[in-house]
């Protein structure tokens, strides 16, 4: 029996779903191994008999809470798929602005779409069995997860920081150059793609266990960043994580 999979999208850019469609070489093989029964971006068929649910996006409306709970009831395994679902992602940035300012600044009125709520992570609403992190998700990590599923092996995320991958690629360290980068506290698995293209790691995969945030803050302050600037960097993807800055 092929595992039946549903892909569901909440508040997001749908880029993580797109990463599934971006598995151009593997997709035809993948379709022989698993069955998508519900994947609105890609198909008209809508099955309710999924056992595995990939949840993309943050929860930002009352109605989304109810929808997510219904999916949870049907799914045996529920996966937070991508940074918006896992961490709140960039959607959490609105939480740092007064709620009363959101609707007027976009729609010029407050009587419409008023069920908008502060951004929640999927785990704030329902229990989550597994996370595929990243903004966007790494498509190879998605494949490894599917392989694990088929072989009945519990998938695991790397428990070391992005720095390890970055160093092994021989990249020049951005922090050592006096810039900022959150690679030392962020969970690896992305192959350090941002620093490899000379851009700072912004922490989209969430913190690695036992991340030494204090130590990184001290170094970044030595590099000339203010506390507020450092706080803003952490807030970009990890604004809902309890960090004391």
């Amino acid at each position: 029996m092929k595992p039946k999979i549903g892909v569901f999208s909440f508040t997001s850019c749908e880029g993580c779903q797109l990463q599934i469609l971006n598995l151009e070489d593997e997709l035809p093989i993948l379709l022989g191994q698993i069955e998508f029964v519900n994947f609105r971006e890609a198909m008209s068929e809508k099955g309710e008999d999924y056992e595995i649910a990939f949840i993309e996006g943050s929860i930002t409306r009352e109605s989304e809470i109810e929808e997510l709970k219904k999916i949870r009831e049907k799914a045996r395994i529920l996966i937070a798929f991508g940074a918006c679902a896992h961490l709140g992602g960039v959607n959490n940035l609105k939480n740092f602005h007064p709620q009363g300012s959101w609707l007027p600044s976009v729609y010029g009125r407050t009587d419409l779409f008023s069920d908008t709520i502060p951004t929640k992570r999927v785990k704030d609403v329902v229990p989550v069995e597994f996370v595929i992190p990243g903004c966007p998700i790494d498509k190879k990590e998605f494949l490894r997860f599917i392989q694990g599923l088929l072989l009945n092996i519990q998938p695991r995320l790397p428990d070391f920081p992005v720095c390890v991958e970055c160093r092994s690629k021989g990249n020049i360290c951005l922090v050592e150059e006096g810039k900022w980068c959150l690679g030392s506290v962020t969970r690896a698995g992305c192959d350090a793609i941002c620093p490899t293209y000379r851009e700072a790691c912004a922490g989209c995969r969430g913190f690695v266990e036992e991340a030494n945030i204090e130590s990184l803050c001290n170094i970044l302050m030595q590099n000339g960043l203010s506390k507020e600037e450092i706080r803003d960097k952490f807030r970009l993807f990890n604004g809902l994580e309890p960090i004391d800055l």
Binding site: T11, G15, E24, P28, F96
Partner: protein, 429 residues
């Protein structure tokens, strides 16, 4: 004949939307294209952030047109800061825009639209019945994604694009690799033209206003003046005179008009306005595909996407030639100092004209934001098309009406996450 159609969450489009249609004795009583995607409030989120974060944050508006958002955002930042990037940087950005348009059009044509022509529900049964077609679509999509990977790390949220240039400048070897990818894509593109030559699209014409960028010298995607086919032409800074946005009660995406007319943006609008600047191979493809311009059939937007895909491949090769002869490149990114300013950045995203405007203070903090998304600009026009086509298809069975309406909406390639999200049809009976 009475129908109550409620297409809830239109499928094979990006995002969440509904078509609500209530027909009593052959008359439309109610017609709404509802956008029910959750609003995301980027205009709020960006305020108080540093200007250098505007491009990576606004890239997250849309996974499919991430490079367009990043480009429009960078251009708005550069306009606010008074930066002029080097010619080479602009050439590279143009190649990236081509890659994104190709990626997005191919995704739409092969994975979302093609199932309609083969009368299946999705690409998944299509992969069983016509594996060669699906594999070809995936190869072309991969080619476009490969170009982005080589130049800026990836397509879904490009990494190396930044204000003033690139955090990592592509090497000559990278450019050679891009060229190989493009050359290898040519036979598949040729087959794609052949595939669409054989496809019958519904005959339905309705005149509307076609809006796009327009340039004197080339087919405008990255730069140009605002232009509409009624002869209006202006600088991008005056976009608020060009189009007006309005809040619609049933749509989390605003609607857009030009004067009293709804507008159409995207591939067909661009071809209507800029056909003469297409590369020869693309013109040849248009001819073979029976696309005579100006064209007022929105279903032909699919064909326009095929023609643009051809253009993107051949024009990228031309841009690569210009780049290769200019190596080594000037310093990138161009150094700049922060200052107070206001800037507008406009590009042609795959689905149409994309506007970003920011105000920044002297410390480089964003103080005001406005983004106008292509799909939002098409919504009012899709509604009017539905109103015009329904009387022509009223006698068909309800399922067929639903199928046609979904196809019509899908022809616009709506991207609802962007416009906030899109489509289901609701009949009310």
């Amino acid at each position: 004949m009475s129908h109550d159609i409620h297409l809830h969450h239109i499928t094979r489009v990006e995002g969440h939307g509904n078509i609500v249609l209530n027909i009593k004795e052959g008359r439309i009583e109610e017609l709404r294209l509802e956008i029910v995607e959750s609003p995301r409030f980027f205009e709020v989120m960006l305020v108080g952030r540093h200007i250098t974060e505007a491009p990576p944050i606004t890239s997250r508006i849309c996974g499919i047109c991430a490079i367009s958002h990043t480009s429009a955002s960078i251009k708005a930042c550069e306009a606010a800061l008074g930066i002029t990037p080097s010619r080479e940087v602009i050439l590279l950005r143009k190649i990236l825009m081509h890659a994104e348009v190709l990626q997005s059009h191919i995704l739409h044509l092969y994975l979302l639209v093609a199932p309609d022509f083969f009368r299946v529900g999705s690409v998944i049964p299509l992969a069983k019945s016509n594996p060669d077609i699906v594999k070809r679509g995936l190869r072309l999509k991969k080619a476009a994604n490969e170009i982005c990977r080589i130049l800026v790390g990836r397509h879904v949220h490009p990494i190396a694009m930044t204000i003033g240039g690139f955090t990592r400048v592509p090497t000559q070897r990278d450019l050679e690799e891009v060229r190989k990818v493009l050359e290898m894509a040519i036979p598949d593109m040729e087959e794609t033209i052949r595939l669409f030559e054989g496809i019958d699209l519904p005959e339905f014409n309705r005149e509307t206003r076609y809006c796009s960028l327009k340039e004197a010298e080339e087919y405008a995607l990255y730069d140009g003046r605002l232009y509409s086919n009624d002869g209006k032409s202006m600088e991008v800074q005056k976009y608020r005179e060009f189009i007006t946005e309005e809040v619609i009660e049933y749509s989390t995406a605003k609607h857009v008009r030009s004067g009293d007319s709804s507008i159409m943006v995207g591939a067909l609008a661009r071809l209507n306005n800029n056909y003469s600047h297409l590369s020869d191979k693309a013109k040849e493809a248009a001819q073979r595909l029976g696309l005579t311009l100006p064209c007022t059939n929105p279903f032909m937007n699919n064909i326009a996407q095929v023609v643009e895909s051809v253009h993107c491949i051949y024009d990228s090769l031309r841009l690569l030639d210009l780049l290769s002869s200019a190596y080594p490149y000037p310093q990138s990114p161009t150094p700049y100092t922060l200052k107070e300013g206001q800037g507008v950045g406009v590009v042609e995203a795959p689905r149409g004209t994309l506007y970003h405007e920011y105000g920044v203070d002297e410390k480089g903090m964003v103080r005001s934001v406005n983004c106008i998304i292509p799909t939002a600009q098409n919504l009012a026009n899709i509604e009017r098309d539905i109103a015009a086509i329904v009387p022509m298809i009223l006698d068909l069975p309800k399922e067929e009406i639903e199928r046609r309406l979904e196809m019509l909406a899908r022809a616009y390639d709506p991207c609802i996450s962007c416009s906030t999200h899109f489509l289901e049809v609701k009949f009310i009976e």
